[in-house]
């Protein structure tokens, strides 16, 4: 039983690294879907016999949302916005990969300093969940396309889910369902937003959004004048 937990944890961290080093958006969408399913299976693996109804509902809901609905939404957004290009990260893929390993080491150090109320199922589950949400934040920060930023947001949520299952197995489902609803609405809205951005500007490169500041510049010019 314990080795299954380890297997899931190791695949989650490997998927983080794969996501950081893969160059195609569609690969990233698939990996984040698999990661969501793996993380959603975690409550079943931890206590297969005594799982509560609430916990199982929240897990099944998260597996369906992350494994089926989100990939479908994201693939549709990708098709409608007609994005085939690569992820183009800041700093290149090897650097992102090294950053992923660095974030994992930092979260190992961080999780060793946290006080725990009761013994954990696996020693590595907290560092891996920290590393997963650091990876999500890193993806949001370092990727240019709006679609990859949604993917980073989903990775972040996977990390939160894993952390929730690690610490509060029984009580987590209310919180989890609320977060899931948020995420669902967010991905839905972002999908629509991406579509509109791409229709308006022919691309979804968020860096160019910072050029929308002529109002500020014109105000400064007035002051100089």
């Amino acid at each position: 039983m314990n080795s299954w937990i380890d297997l899931i944890i190791i695949s989650v961290i490997l998927m983080n690294l794969m996501m950081l080093s893969s160059s195609r958006i569609s690969t990233c969408i698939r990996i984040v879907a698999f990661q969501g399913v793996f993380v959603g299976l975690m409550p079943f693996v931890i206590n297969a016999q005594s799982i509560t109804l609430g916990a199982s509902i929240s897990s099944i809901a998260s597996i369906t949302l992350k494994g089926v609905v989100f990939p479908w939404l994201l693939f549709r957004a990708q098709q409608e916005a007609n994005i085939r290009k690569e992820v183009d990260p800041i700093g290149g893929y090897p650097l992102s990969l090294l950053a992923g390993v660095g974030m994992f080491l930092i979260s190992c150090w961080l999780s060793a300093r946290l006080p725990y109320e009761r013994p954990l199922f696996s020693e590595m589950i907290v560092p891996v969940s920290f590393a997963t949400f650091f990876t999500g934040i890193f993806i949001i920060v370092s990727r240019m396309k709006a679609l990859t930023q949604v993917i980073g947001y989903l990775v972040l949520e996977n990390g939160i889910f894993l952390f929730g299952t690690a610490l509060l197995v029984e009580q987590s489902f209310v919180v989890e369902l609320a977060i899931l609803l948020d995420i669902f609405v967010a991905v839905f809205v972002m999908g629509i937003a991406i579509f509109h951005i791409s229709r308006e500007f022919d691309h979804i490169d968020t860096q160019n959004l910072s050029e929308l500041k002529d109002w500020v510049i014109s105000k400064q010019e007035k002051q100089h004048a």
Binding site: S3, D6, I10, L14, P94, L97, V101, F104, L105, P127
Partner: protein
């Protein structure tokens, strides 16, 4: 003691055979008949009977390079267990000596290449060192993870303590180590996807370009050293999968040699189905192995 010496001699005798197996596998995929399984033995024997030609611009380093490399690799092979049985020499911390012996062999190959003053060889030397920057720490960290799992610092003891089959052991960390070691294994032996041992195009060669100016006996030493290096790094992988059995030494030996053949076949298959990576992509590939090794070590530190 007699058995240990016999094992050492077996390593020396058997290692060139694996290259025959790889070439046969590649020939099978290409639909060719392929060279003899003993081709490398013939090549080495032929080269040992020849004299060497030395350029007037080279110094003693060029002559010493292949000899020092081969002797460092032979010493390293004395530290490696055979079929899970203890090696000829073993002491606490010999895995550090093992890694540094391989480093010494590489260092003298690089020096000899630079000594020729050829710009092509300089290019090859710089590539070799650039890739070693990633491959060596990865090897170090994977061996450290293995040492951590088994609780010993000697290579012989690591492989005799890995008694259970890793698949049954339920230790997923082992897979991370195997992944990292396999990438290192392909890199260090200059196989596809990192380097192509058959290429003779100067702009893309890595290892081959460094030995262009060696001939005769020296080239024989280099071929032989490469074969033994392939064997000893392969032992790390097959050793993990086989562990130490105790059904009598004959069974162990047969299983181990069979495992090495399978590894050679796997390498042949990898070479047949994969293309070479572009040179700028190779560090990325090696960073993957470094990342796997770091993860494995972090997981075992708990």
């Amino acid at each position: 003691m007699v058995i240990k010496i016999a094992q050492f001699i077996l390593i020396i005798l058997l290692s060139p055979f694996l290259f025959g197996v790889i070439n046969r596998t590649k020939a099978f995929f290409a639909g060719r008949k392929g060279s003899s399984l003993f081709q490398l033995y013939y090549d080495i024997f032929k080269l040992f009977q020849k004299g060497a030609v030395y350029s007037t611009t080279t110094t003693w380093i060029f002559v010493a390079g292949p000899i020092i490399s081969l002797s460092a690799i032979l010493t390293a092979s004395a530290l490696i267990p055979f079929a899970g049985h203890p090696s000829l020499v073993s002491f606490d911390g010999d895995l550090i000596l093992f890694i540094y012996l391989l480093g010494l062999a590489r260092f003298f190959t690089v020096l000899a290449a630079l000594d020729t003053g050829s710009s092509f060889e300089g290019m090859g030397a710089s590539r070799e060192v650039q890739f070693a920057v990633f491959a060596e720490p990865a090897l170090f960290l994977s061996l450290a993870a293995l040492a951590r799992i088994t609780g010993t610092l000697s290579i012989s003891d690591i492989f005799s303590n890995l008694t259970i089959h890793p698949l049954a052991m339920g230790e997923p960390v082992i897979f991370l180590v195997v992944g990292a070691l396999f990438i290192i294994f392909l890199t260090e032996n200059s196989r596809i996807p990192v380097d192509d041992p058959n290429t003779h195009l100067e702009l893309t060669m890595i290892h081959e370009v460094m030995v262009l100016d060696h001939g005769g006996v020296d080239l024989g030493y280099i071929f032989y050293g490469a074969a033994i290096k392939f064997w000893i790094l392969g032992t790390l992988l097959t050793g993990i999968f086989l562990g130490a059995h105790s059904k009598g030494w004959a069974w162990d030996y047969v299983m181990f040699i069979f495992g090495m053949m399978i590894l050679a076949v796997i390498v042949g298959v990898v070479e047949s189905v994969l293309a070479r990576l572009r040179l700028i992509k190779v560090p990325h590939f090696l960073i993957v192995s470094l990342a796997l090794a770091v993860l494995a070590l972090a997981f075992t530190m708990r």
